[in-house]
């Protein structure tokens, strides 16, 4: 099968500082690649380059077989959607949920005007929110609910790739869990191709098919999830995995079903 997203020799510099150093990575269609690494390792920088929010100093991003250049077309922008740690960065506080969800639908002509209301309801249903949410404003929702709205907004334009940058890191553990369950359902129902970024190895384990580890701007390991968690290839991955605090009892009920 073709790769959905391919990154070749990406280098990003902030002034003198090299935040990404010749990173290459391929994501297969309908798989979730979990990107893990310590803070400052360059995860968000990679996400921003792929989404076209910053330009690399070197290297390129391919979506399917198209090279994504400096100036992206409307269609190319639509095709890669981002979800952030803080949902408020993508939700205009002065707009109702209806306005937030219709904007992309109309701009990218996903449905015609007559179909917008119905599609908005379907989107909310996808993320398990009641359609009565449509008339309300972002501040009237909890952090977890706002993240669901941000996910609905990202899904609205039917992107081929979703990038989620620490989407559960600001949430309480119980909310985090239901958010991960939502991502899992969406993954299988919509056949999403996803780059899922987290510094939390428990989260990465719950959501990923493939795991990539980043350290100081470089990828140090890319492996299928099961292999990564039981037989990591590098001592750095092993160090990360060994540092995760362990429960003193084995939890049989935990984990996503």
């Amino acid at each position: 099968m073709k790769t959905a997203l391919q990154i070749e020799d990406l280098t990003v510099k902030y002034g003198e500082f090299t935040a990404l150093d010749k990173v290459s990575l391929a994501i297969q269609p309908h798989t979730t690649l979990g990107l893990v690494g310590e803070s400052g390792s360059g995860k968000s920088t990679l996400a921003r380059v792929i989404a076209g929010l910053i330009a690399p100093s070197d290297g390129q991003v391919l979506l399917g077989s198209q090279v994504l250049g400096k100036k992206r077309s409307r269609e190319q922008h639509k095709d890669i959607q981002m979800i952030f740690q803080n949902p408020d960065s993508s939700l205009n506080p002065k707009h109702t949920i209806r306005q937030i969800l219709s904007e992309g639908l109309l701009f990218h002509k996903v449905v015609d005007r007559a179909g917008v209301e119905q599609r908005c309801k379907e989107l909310l249903d996808r993320v398990h929110l009641d359609e009565r949410a449509l008339g309300r404003y972002p501040h009237q929702f909890s952090g977890g609910q706002r993240q669901r709205i941000a996910i609905a907004r990202a899904l609205s334009v039917e992107p081929s790739v979703i990038i989620a940058d620490e989407p559960t890191s600001a949430l309480d553990v119980s909310v985090q869990r239901s958010m991960l369950e939502l991502f899992s359902t969406l993954k299988s129902e919509l056949n999403l191709t996803m780059l899922f970024i987290s510094h939390d190895l428990g989260v990465i384990h719950a959501i990923s098919d493939i795991v990539a580890v980043m350290k100081q701007g470089q990828l140090v390991e890319v492996n299928p999830k099961d292999q990564f968690f039981s037989r990591p290839e590098t001592s750095y991955s092993r160090e990360l995995l060994s540092a995760v605090p362990k429960m003193p009892i084995s939890i049989t009920t935990g984990g996503l079903s």
Partner: protein, 253 residues
């Protein structure tokens, strides 16, 4: 769960906003010498406020409206955001020596010697002895070590820990936890450890209190609480822990 000869007793502690909104209700616990008690629960459950009231450091707008706190030892606190707890304009060794000087009533010269000993105890780089640095020139983990050193400079009988590793990377988190555990064994202080991470709480503490909406909904010896949780909220918290498979031995070396 009353400790024999407690060094800290909290009885029916209730806190509310000045407008009368109840924030913490009837919290009870006690702590014996050298013991560790964990307060776990999700954000907004009242963990930080409970901890702050032990220190008498309630934020503006929050008042104690009931109950009593009795303690005959000194307490010192460490926070989630170590940088925020340090003065950004003062080099760290000087800050530490300053705390030693005021808290231990020793000469300037002795305070610097004690500060340098604390640096060593916390595993901070030797280079700080020659060249002092500002908080912004240290990593988050190093700043947290300075904050712990400053707390220990008060020679506390109780160390109050408010999510001290939540903002740190997992490898740094492990180092800080190992350091706190070692120091507790060496110095024998008691601890109240606030965290939302059940794995950390149960490793660090022999007793856990589960807080929800300002109340302790369940408490018990750490292991038995995890093995046999009674309250649905405790069960939910345990259920929310994301498990990891066992690492195979010898891999990745």
């Amino acid at each position: 769960m009353m400790a024999t000869n407690p060094i800290l007793e909290i009885e029916n502690l209730s806190l509310a906003t000045s407008a009368g909104k109840s924030l913490v209700t009837n919290v009870n616990f006690s702590l014996g010498k050298g013991e560790s008690l964990g307060l776990v629960g999700e954000s907004g459950s009242g963990k930080s406020l409970t901890l702050r009231s032990i220190l008498g450091l309630l934020p503006r707008g929050v008042e104690q409206v009931g109950g009593a706190i009795r303690s005959d030892v000194r307490s010192a606190m460490i926070f989630q955001d170590p940088r925020g707890a340090l003065d950004p304009l003062c080099p760290v060794v000087r800050q530490l020596a300053e705390v030693v000087y005021y808290r231990q009533n020793v000469s300037r010269k002795a305070s610097r010697t004690i500060a340098l000993e604390l640096l060593e105890m916390l595993g901070l780089p030797d280079s700080l002895k020659q060249k002092d640095r500002y908080p912004s020139q240290l990593s988050g983990g190093q700043c947290q070590r300075i904050v712990i050193a400053m707390a220990l400079a008060c020679k506390p009988g109780i160390l109050l820990c408010d999510e001290p590793t939540t903002a740190l990377d997992v490898t740094v988190q492990k180092q800080i936890i190992d350091t706190i555990t070692r120091l507790q064994q060496e110095l024998g202080f008691a601890m109240v450890f606030v965290t939302h991470n059940l794995a950390i709480a149960s490793t660090m503490c022999s007793t856990l209190c589960v807080m929800k909406e300002g109340q302790i909904v369940e408490r018990g010896e750490s292991l038995s609480l995890l093995q046999n949780p009674q309250h649905s909220y405790t069960q939910m918290l345990i259920h929310s822990v994301l498990p990891l498979p066992e690492l195979e031995r010898g891999a990745g070396v």
